[in-house]
Symmetry: C2
Subunit: 344 residues, 2 copies
Amino acid sequence: MATASDVAKAAGVSISTVSYALSGKRSISATTRDKVLKTAEELGYLPHASARMLAAKRSQIIAVTAPLHQDTDHTVHMQFAMEVTKSARECDYDTLLLVHDDAMEGMRRSAGTALADGIAVLDVDADDPRADLARGLDYPVVFIGIPHDTTGLICVDLDFEAAAALAVDRLADAGHASIGLVSHPRITMDRGSNFPLRFLEGFERRCRERGIAFAVAYPEATSARRAINELLTALPGMSGLILNTGSEVAADAVPALGARGRSVPDDVSVIAAGAAYSTERFAVPLDTIPLDAHASCAAAVDLLVAAIDRGEREPRTVLIAPEYRDFDSVRRAGVAEDVSQASA
Amino acid sequence: MATASDVAKAAGVSISTVSYALSGKRSISATTRDKVLKTAEELGYLPHASARMLAAKRSQIIAVTAPLHQDTDHTVHMQFAMEVTKSARECDYDTLLLVHDDAMEGMRRSAGTALADGIAVLDVDADDPRADLARGLDYPVVFIGIPHDTTGLICVDLDFEAAAALAVDRLADAGHASIGLVSHPRITMDRGSNFPLRFLEGFERRCRERGIAFAVAYPEATSARRAINELLTALPGMSGLILNTGSEVAADAVPALGARGRSVPDDVSVIAAGAAYSTERFAVPLDTIPLDAHASCAAAVDLLVAAIDRGEREPRTVLIAPEYRDFDSVRRAGVAEDVSQASA
DNA sequence: GCCCATCGTCGAAGCGCTTCGACAGCGTTC
DNA sequence: GAACGCTGTCGAAGCGCTTCGACGATGGGC
């Protein structure tokens, strides 16, 4: 490979002039700059990454840690890892994947060896040990997800509580007084996985605030049948359903309601909230409050880059406001009867 | 962070002695080595990654390119990316994710700047442009998947043709003379995605060799219904079925057969081949010829590391022999009648 | 008891880049 | 026209590590 010194010789200037011409960090006459750029182009010059890192004291690499629990949703993870990568590239950073059994070791290593300039943490648990590690590290770390104790941390996530409240409001506004929630499997909740808990809290609080009867079910594996049955037992008059669960269970919800003689949206209005998947190909497309990987990751990378490049390290939690996508799976309560009578 | 120079001072030796004590590349007395190791430990010394890269002319980083087509299976991808990462760590390499729109640019950049020491290429198409790029790069590249023209390339993959033959043989040996194949969606085939084509070829060839009647269907989206219907139209007496398709379609195959009055395995024997998913939780667990991400990735990383560390760059294609996992979803042809009569 | 091989350690030369200070050349300013 | 400030360029000093050659010390062979 051609080096900066080769370019300097060929262009008849000094090495530092080459560096400044390419980086633009000092003014260089247009003539010289063009000559350097042209020569660099001709020689196919690309700066040696390690040399640049060493001299600039910056690797332009962001590490991404994604510990994989057995109940983790690979699709969602991959989406987040990719979105971080894309956003990072836009800021001229590459991403290093850290997916060992020991995420802590990876974080310590990338900080200690200056392999990466900062770390993006995915799949955050409520009592995530990586939070303590980050606090002790004096090193830019951004959490995509929110641990219980956010002291000293920078965190980004969809505002799941607001998303839950938004979903409840939609149904309540449409006159539904009895709402079920299909949440995540017990194993996920028990692990203290963060966002399902926040969603659940938001859901329960808003239901109470608005005097709505509610029930919650925790599905197992990929079927919604049992969860739906439980909800219908607890709330025989359930006319609103919120799904904050994996794509397979969510996709199974409409068939599961169908098996109990309820059609969507005539008998039950349904909203998929905090959904990382699209409901367009579901048996009945559902109103959705999306979990937008792009938005979260872009925000996270921005914060991380600000911390790295501009030293902006003040702890803070950024909650991304939920959006509502209407696919007509919510109907006014009471209107249902007319429709079913009409079609019966 | 402590530097090698700090350690040297504290231990009362020279910098080069520190380096040799830690790397073991020259003999160092036990006394000195222990003193250095102890001091390094105490100071929490970790070698600066960029400095090491620059001096050693090696980054200990492997780039992973995974272009994402819209029909790509994220779950499978993530699995492969992670397996590459795990295997790489065992050889003391980290992995850089390259998932831009322009995979070519990423490859060129990591080679040109010496950011990575080599590249693992995922999701290979038959006429993948990255093949030509790799040929022109003079840089270690390993393909996990097999393009049409493998000249000059190092490739690793499951032996899909052998897997297809193995599946056909199992069914044929059990007396099934009429076998259907559910392949991948047309869009995937048309893109020239590589392994479905190889599987298809292996399937057709072996069926012909053994005089088996066969038919192939290409599903759409996530349902198997149409594909199953097509196969039953083409082969009314179909008693064997091979699934070389995504997990959702595969999971839907047994219900789809059920909808047509066929039960598994009594009426139809079924094998999931080249499956990156587990069939354990399917309505009926299926005999499986797994697509083992770990095996492929471990082999690929070994080849890549050999190419980087030991200069072993001879082109070659490594096909991983298929394995058969029996879950009792294949029965002898003709036995089916007895069973169904008995239970009827 | 001398020579040579071996072992253990050190100093110094880079790796290829960024960046700082210096300074020549030129146009302003009074 | 002397003093001044700009602009554009250069040289050199690192960044922290690896690695090569050198060399004193030790020990075995004769």
